[in-house]
């Protein structure tokens, strides 16, 4: 398909996944995934561990390769073509469970690296932008420190700022609060909520159901590599349809 044709068909669909399958060796991890994400939509993906949530969102920026089906991100189809992959990655930011900050670079250098090398932004301009985003995540005073000198919550906020410095159209969050101490979860969630309120297209794998209720347009439940159920948060939590969803919700909500 030509790029223009894809864009015509998509309308405001930011991510389109059609009949996507993935295997790890002989193990069928993702089975027939179909998903449309519209611009400005905030989607929360939940499900038991090993259900393929992370693998699915990692397919969206090709950290994992799918073997069957189509993934179209921001009008670009993900194939083996490196050009397409790089084009998608430029527009899609990702925040990881373990932050993955670069420990040998300062916080500021972490934030300016990709804009300078990928977007070819002049250094001074990249630094000014980075400081802006560091202020937004409320840690401008840490700019010259190294990641190893910050707390987990601060590191994750730097990671969010680092992604934002590339001015992405879509943000992927892969269990961003799972590696944090309880007292630090809130500061990261607050940052994410703020981002959601500004209209960022977000897909977030998380177990923070409070976050899902506050900001999500849609909650997706996955199990054994399939999307079992998806609905608006209110319906999803109060009136889950599938048996497995009910079981999962009862396990994580009543304890």
């Amino acid at each position: 398909m030509s790029t223009e044709k894809i864009q015509q068909e998509l309308g405001d669909v930011a991510i389109k996944i059609r009949q996507m399958h993935k295997w790890y060796g002989a193990f069928h991890v993702l089975k027939d995934i179909n998903l449309d994400v519209h611009s400005g939509e905030r989607i929360v993906v939940c499900g038991p561990s090993g259900s393929g949530k992370s693998t699915m969102i990692r397919c969206i920026n090709r950290l994992e390769e799918h073997q069957k089906g189509d993934i179209i991100v921001d009008g670009v189809e993900l194939t083996n073509d490196l050009k397409n992959i790089e084009a998608v990655r430029r527009e899609v930011g990702m925040v990881f469970q373990h932050f993955n900050l670069f420990p040998h670079l300062t916080v500021l250098e972490n934030c300016t690296l990709a804009p300078i090398w990928v977007r070819k932004v002049p250094k001074a301009e990249a630094e000014a932008t980075a400081m802006q985003y560091l202020e937004r995540v409320k840690i401008p005073e840490q700019a010259l420190k190294y990641p190893g000198q910050l707390s987990g919550g601060q590191q994750q906020r730097v990671a969010i700022a680092r992604s934002l410095c590339m001015s992405p159209k879509i943000m992927l969050f892969d269990e961003p609060t799972s590696a944090l101490d309880p007292e630090m979860i809130k500061e990261v969630l607050d940052t994410m909520i703020e981002l959601a309120q500004e209209g960022m297209t977000m897909i977030c794998v998380t177990h923070e159901m409070g976050f899902a209720k506050t900001v999500a347009n849609r909650v997706i439940f996955m199990d054994e590599g399939q999307i079992i159920e998806q609905n608006e948060p209110e319906e999803f939590f109060n009136n889950p349809q599938n048996e497995r969803t009910q079981l999962f919700l009862s396990q994580i909500l009543n304890h």
Partner: protein, 424 residues
């Protein structure tokens, strides 16, 4: 004294108790902590008392520094006969480098020290020129040490071609590609022209010194420095190649590394000295020292590649994933993210390989190059000075120890400097 009581939540930060710090504590904890420990300390002190004065006397107070031969040495004093080393000092330093040309080696050495300081000392003035100096030094050193018309012709041709090509690149052609090809053409033409002219006219600024005249510490330094500076980049390329997704590159690198590591260095040196002349077309005269340098570099780079591969594997996968997710291409991701971390982790191993290479340079003795050890052995054959092997070997050992310890110290300094997180 009773402990002062504080309300819960108001306890201030206090300094540590006095007895928990200082040299007294160190001595008590490390030398006199138990009866066994006390006994061992006393025993060790006794041994040191017995050995050190004797060693000191042999090395300094009872030693002879000026004498004509061994017998005079023995007649004068009972200790070491440093007169031997003093007399052979120049041989140990320069080998058989012609006496009238030795000033060239001295200048090269001074330039070498200056370059090393400029490259390694972060606060050195003029550090912004370090890349230019670092690139120029090898050529200047080659010119100074080897000299001769053809070396000069090659260097002159290279330098002139570079300048002209740069000029052409700045002035001619309307687009990038045209400018590139114009400057490349200019480079080749000027290089060939200058080289032919220089050799045809037989111009020569410095007299040619054949590499088989090299020897002693000078030879060790040449082999060591060349091997060290070339094996690191080569090792990095091999390590990255071994991780490549392209099977041809991957298996070529694995094959190279495993072959070189599986063969003793001595064998490679013999190959360099004899067998290469069978493989090469007849009549090619391939300098023996150059062959040795190539072999030593390849040998060290195979080890280097494995050390760096260990470092690459120690960098968490999340680092490459984060770089990928930002859209960085392979080159910048490796250069800016993975390699700085991998090399930092590998510093102890890298320096270990450097030191190994440096000391292995004495093996060139088996193919007839006279390194300090070779000079020492040759000198011991002198009937006037027979039986002084302790002095010779100690002298050579001190030279190697000083240079290797300097490398080790710098590597520790580098590890501290590059340390960014909390120390573990």
């Amino acid at each position: 004294m009773p402990e002062q009581q504080y309300e819960p939540g108001t306890h201030p930060d206090l300094p540590p108790p006095f007895a928990a710090s200082g040299p007294v504590k160190w001595v008590r904890e490390n030398l006199f902590s138990s009866p066994t420990n006390i006994a061992l300390t006393v025993l060790a002190m006794f041994f040191l008392y017995k050995i050190i004065p004797g060693m000191f006397a042999w090395t300094f107070t009872d030693a002879t520094f000026v004498a004509a031969d061994r017998n005079e040495c023995r007649a004068l004093n009972s200790g070491a006969c440093w007169a031997f080393i003093a007399q052979r000092w120049e041989l140990f330093t320069y080998g058989f480098y012609p006496e009238t040309e030795r000033w060239r080696v001295i200048i090269t050495f001074v330039l070498f020290v200056a370059t090393v300081i400029l490259l390694l000392w972060e606060k050195c003035p003029g550090r912004q020129y370090r890349f230019i100096v670092g690139a120029l030094f090898p050529m200047v050193a080659l010119w100074l040490i080897v000299g001769g018309s053809s070396t000069e012709a090659a260097l002159m041709a290279y330098a002139a071609a570079l300048v002209v090509a740069y000029f052409v690149y700045q002035r001619f052609g309307h687009n990038l590609s045209a400018r590139f090809w114009f400057s490349l053409l200019a480079f080749v033409l000027v290089a060939i022209g200058v080289y032919t002219l220089w050799t045809a006219m037989g111009w020569s600024m410095l007299e040619h010194v054949s590499t088989d005249k090299f020897g002693g510490f000078m030879l060790t330094l040449i082999i060591g420095v060349t091997g060290i500076t070339l094996s690191l980049p080569l090792g990095i390329l091999l390590a990255l190649g071994r991780q490549s997704n392209l099977p041809i590159i991957k298996y070529a690198c694995i094959g190279f590394i495993e072959f070189i590591r599986g063969v003793p260095l001595i064998t490679l040196l013999f190959v360099a000295s004899t067998m290469l002349s069978y493989f090469l077309p007849p009549g090619t005269n391939f300098d023996l020292l150059l062959r040795v340098l190539i072999m030593v570099t390849l040998f060290a780079s195979a080890y280097m590649a494995e050390v760096i591969r260990g470092g690459l594997q120690a960098v968490p996968k999340g680092q490459t994933e984060a770089a990928d997710a930002m859209g960085l291409k392979y080159g910048p991701a490796m250069r800016l993210i993975v390699l700085p971390q991998a090399l930092k982790i590998s510093i102890p191993g890298i320096v270990n390989t450097f030191i190994g290479l440096y000391k292995d340079s004495v093996l060139v003795i088996v193919i007839g190059l006279l390194d300090p050890l070779g000079i020492g052995q040759a000198s011991l054959a002198d009937t006037k000075w027979q039986g002084l092997s302790t002095e010779v070997y100690l002298f050579v050992a001190i030279f190697f120890f000083v240079s290797c310890y300097a490398m080790a110290s710098y590597s520790r300094h580098l590890e501290d400097k590059l340390h960014t997180g909390h120390k573990r």
